[in-house]
Symmetry: C2
Subunit: 194 residues, 2 copies
DNA sequence: TCAATTTCTTGATCCAGATCAATTTTTGCC
DNA sequence: GGCAAAAATTGATCTGGATCAAGAAATTGA
């Protein structure tokens, strides 16, 4: 796992100091591969892992009764991944987590995750801060979904979307922005325009 | 503040044990009143406080460029309140926090909030867990906004909405459900129906 | 390399829910 | 209680973006 210390340490910012005694935690991680199109978790199953992405793009989505995918979020190089509520509560997931490109990830299981906080209570600070940030980001997205029309959502997204995401089929981006691929395509034609 | 110990302790669940040494924390709180219609924070200002509601209902909303209010959430007896991102980052808020009924709240300022974690690192566990729960709740709401039509959102909301919220004008509930008061009224006519 | 499959684009139509307009009902206040 | 202001209802109309349909472009894989 030594080769990925840097990645893990970066992912775990803003936990400023990973002290010597934390190095044990670095060995919790197990490396896994997921080819494009494979599922890390599916609706109905329990999410067993908490991930850090080494490489690749993954999408979390929910399947509506009429069968369309609604993308909730993406993960990619350096970010966390997993179906968080299912993982924490060890209850059935409503979501799919799919590799959109060939992916390599690091993962730890729930027992390891729990022991992290038991053994090193100072990780709770990391947990508190990281969850604050995730929460603020989610509220931000919610506000954008509620207050902006399709064109505005498209523009805002395009201006700050990580390049990495541009490699996935547009229909996933469209879904994330809560619009159809047709609408997404039409918005694309008028970049910068009204 | 003694009279409100119970309230605070309940609000801070799941921090199971407030030990003797934490009793100092109970005295951080200051009681304030906000009459109906008054603002606890306004857009452009910095949120200086973190609140626990003793009594009353408050709404967080954003004002769109065309001037309509979009309600993001409510707080009421026993829950936390405040404009969280502004409070944490000490940066200008985009939101309004308005008392929808005469309200009494307990509040602490940012310095006190920070000192909580400095002095009693074990509060970080509370922080981590409470933010996990808030995050999961937000994602749940986001999924409902994205996947459900107006009638479904109305039904789901009505089935689990705290009675306390039924005392506020319907236009706020309508806005929270991302629909107009007219639509809300029409949904109301067909409770239980198709 | 080239056929099969998937994705993207473009145009035509449709509809849930917004907007506009007019009452009616409720609330608050003296 | 009674009157003004705010909120809720109801009906008529409008529209952003969905849906449907068909073809063009890109990707995949043998």
């Amino acid at each position: 796992m030594k080769e990925h210390y840097e990645l893990i340490i970066n992912a775990f910012r803003p936990l400023e100091i990973l002290e010597a005694k934390h190095l044990e935690f670095l060995d919790f991680w197990e490396e896994v591969e997921h080819p494009k199109g494979s599922f890390l978790t599916e609706a109905g199953k329990i999410e067993r892992y908490f991930y850090v992405v080494i490489e690749g793009v993954q999408a979390v989505y929910i399947l509506t009764p009429n069968g369309d995918k609604k993308v909730i979020g993406f993960s990619f190089d350096g970010s966390f991944s997993g179906i968080y509520d299912s993982f924490l509560k060890e209850s059935g997931s409503h979501y799919f987590l799919e590799a959109l490109t060939d992916s390599r990830l690091l993962r730890m299981n729930k027992a390891q995750y729990d022991s992290l906080f038991d053994r090193y209570p100072e990780f709770n600070e990391w947990g508190r801060v990281i969850h604050q940030e995730l929460l603020i980001g989610r509220v931000q997205r919610e506000v954008e979904l509620i207050t902006m029309d399709a064109k505005e959502r498209f523009d805002v997204f395009m201006n700050r979307c990580p390049k990495k995401l541009m490699t996935v089929p547009q229909k996933y981006l469209a879904s994330y922005l809560n619009m159809t691929p047709e609408t997404f395509s039409r918005m694309r034609k008028q970049i910068g325009g009204g």
